[in-house]
Symmetry: C3
């Protein structure tokens, strides 16, 4: 097997572990094999077990990275169950994680072509199962970064899991940050900017929300909505948490009504 | 244009974004141009929109960094308004950020000489405005790190914005950390150490505060003050949050009374 | 003095500082001497002043790192007192920190041999004492990484401080993460898995806790226990904080009763 290690191979991590020492053990393993690696913490504050939030973050971030970046993605409510560890290769980017919908946006993007692989049983079975991030996904990512594809085998594309909620083309809350600011998957239309207020329906409740990204335009505790950094509709509150005001959770439905 | 890229060019980031995936997109762009870059997260937990806290952190940290470090500084309540993106060059250190007071301490330090530049309109206008940290300040920092000064033009020093509050030489709360410990801009005098208690006036309320850095000297919930890591007066509480006890916010006045 | 600097020398940091700019000043100093260093934030969210949690994290993480990694460990309730800064060298790994029990597990591990050193008074006395992490421990770690052992002198092993609580072979809560999940130092026995529930005694109160790592097995707010990523017993709660439910703190006793 020919190996061709990049000196500054980039690894990017997306997990729901929180930023504590469990993440460091994954980095430590990488440094043993890639002493000059660039390891980027994309986000460890994904809402725990929210595959939807994880999928959203992966989709919004990966195109900014250098080609051949290896993404280690672990948001895994099914740890311990039989869901397969997979490897999705778009040619430009490599993604390793559980087959649970985390790669929904990549798999359904008509502009992206990819090959799909599962980690072989023989690679999995010899490993501890106590912490898959460290004991399975990171070692697999290291082998793949080294160009060792002996550890994977092809998997049929129809076996790749998508997120059922997103297949219905619904619009939902996809992410809530530490300030309580809410991101959605609703593309922000130019016409929204022309209005003073949008009539938002969040989980069945109606809210007339000011269209502005200038927080000081709103009174204290007032909601605002605007075009977020990913060109989608975001909802925040001036000096307050939109999450708390709306009692919102990732996955809740959001629509813009006329 | 001659370019001279350092292999391990250091970039240091100071923002109020919180540590989530928006920061990672900025790092990803840097790695495309500087594969061996050292990217240091100085602080992403600056109180949101607190230019004062951002300015304080920049001043207290930059001298520890290697020469030619490029600082990307984004605490920007005026995002979307007309405030200019600027570049301050002290020769040893390079700072990129909004012209809103964030560089107050550097600009007013009699021991520091600097040149001042604004990012040219032609560089700005072709860029998305949805997320200036990623779409404007980081690309500008990358060009400057590459030695491409074609993107900037000189700006008059009298146009550089300072923080009005600090020009009156008042003493204020400059930073509150995650534990509720309070930092101020009051130089800690040797004579403070000789006293058992300091009479502190915080936003008009008087507090007799024990002078000690040994938390166990105080009873549970008792306030303490001491010489902080930046040689300024800090206020904490034993097993409690000084922020909550004093109902304190960044910018509140603090004075030591006789 | 012969110096032999590794290009990608690994430094790993374990502190209770929180992740703010005080940590960045330590990294900045390292980059001045080791421009290609790999600096890993193992954990800055150790419970403040909890030497027990710090010792637990160090023990659970260090073996994953490349050989010759230098660990900078600062959980230091005695800052300002006379406790000595020490250097423990296992041959494979180097640890710098206060002599206060932080290296308990390394010093008492029958499989580990080590040499023990204290930082010389002449190295300490010329330094600021306002922030030992930046002004003492990091500079010492840099010298040791450079191979400059002139700054240390041998220290008798009987002078090395252990954690009294752990010498009695008690089982305790060693770590609580940001989700309120509780780690203990109780080895998870295979027989635990065969039971549906464990009878846990936490600080004298009895709790019948479901044995399962599948959160959805439990009702909302119900406690679960399982084999954690370090092969020890962990306690969590479905969609809730086990820390709050049990009113638990690091150091509290935990036992599995028949």
């Amino acid at each position: 097997m020919k190996q061709n290690r990049k000196i500054n191979q980039v690894f990017a991590m997306i997990t729901d572990f929180g930023f504590d020492f469990s993440v460091a053990s994954m980095k430590a393993l990488i440094l043993k094999e890639f002493p000059g690696a660039q390891i980027i913490d994309v986000d460890h504050s994904i809402k725990q077990f929210s595959v939807l939030s994880g999928a959203f973050v992966i989709d919004k971030i990966y195109r900014y990275f250098p080609q051949l970046t290896v993404f280690i993605c672990v948001v895994d409510p099914g740890v311990g169950s039989k869901r397969e560890p997979i490897f999705i290769d778009t040619g430009n980017y490599k993604f390793i994680g559980p087959n649970n919908g985390l790669f929904h946006y990549i798999l359904t993007d008509p502009k992206v072509s990819y090959s799909s692989w599962s980690i072989k049983e023989e690679f999995r079975s010899v490993r501890s199962t106590t912490f898959h991030g460290r004991d399975l996904f990171t070692p697999a990512a290291i082998e793949i970064a080294k160009g060792n594809f002996d550890i994977v085998q092809s998997i049929d594309k129809e076996k790749l899991v998508l997120i059922p909620l997103l297949r219905e083309d619904v619009s939902v809350i996809t992410y809530i940050d530490g300030f309580g600011n809410i991101k959605t998957n609703i593309p922000f239309k130019d016409e929204f900017k022309k209005r003073d207020f949008l009539n938002l329906n969040v989980s069945g409740a109606h809210h007339l929300v000011r269209v502005s990204h200038t927080f000081s335009d709103a009174s204290k505790g007032e909601l605002l909505c605007y075009k977020g950094s990913n060109d989608t509709l975001e909802i925040a509150a001036n000096l307050a948490s939109a999450e708390k005001i709306l009692n919102a959770e990732v996955g809740d439905s959001v629509t813009v009504e006329e």
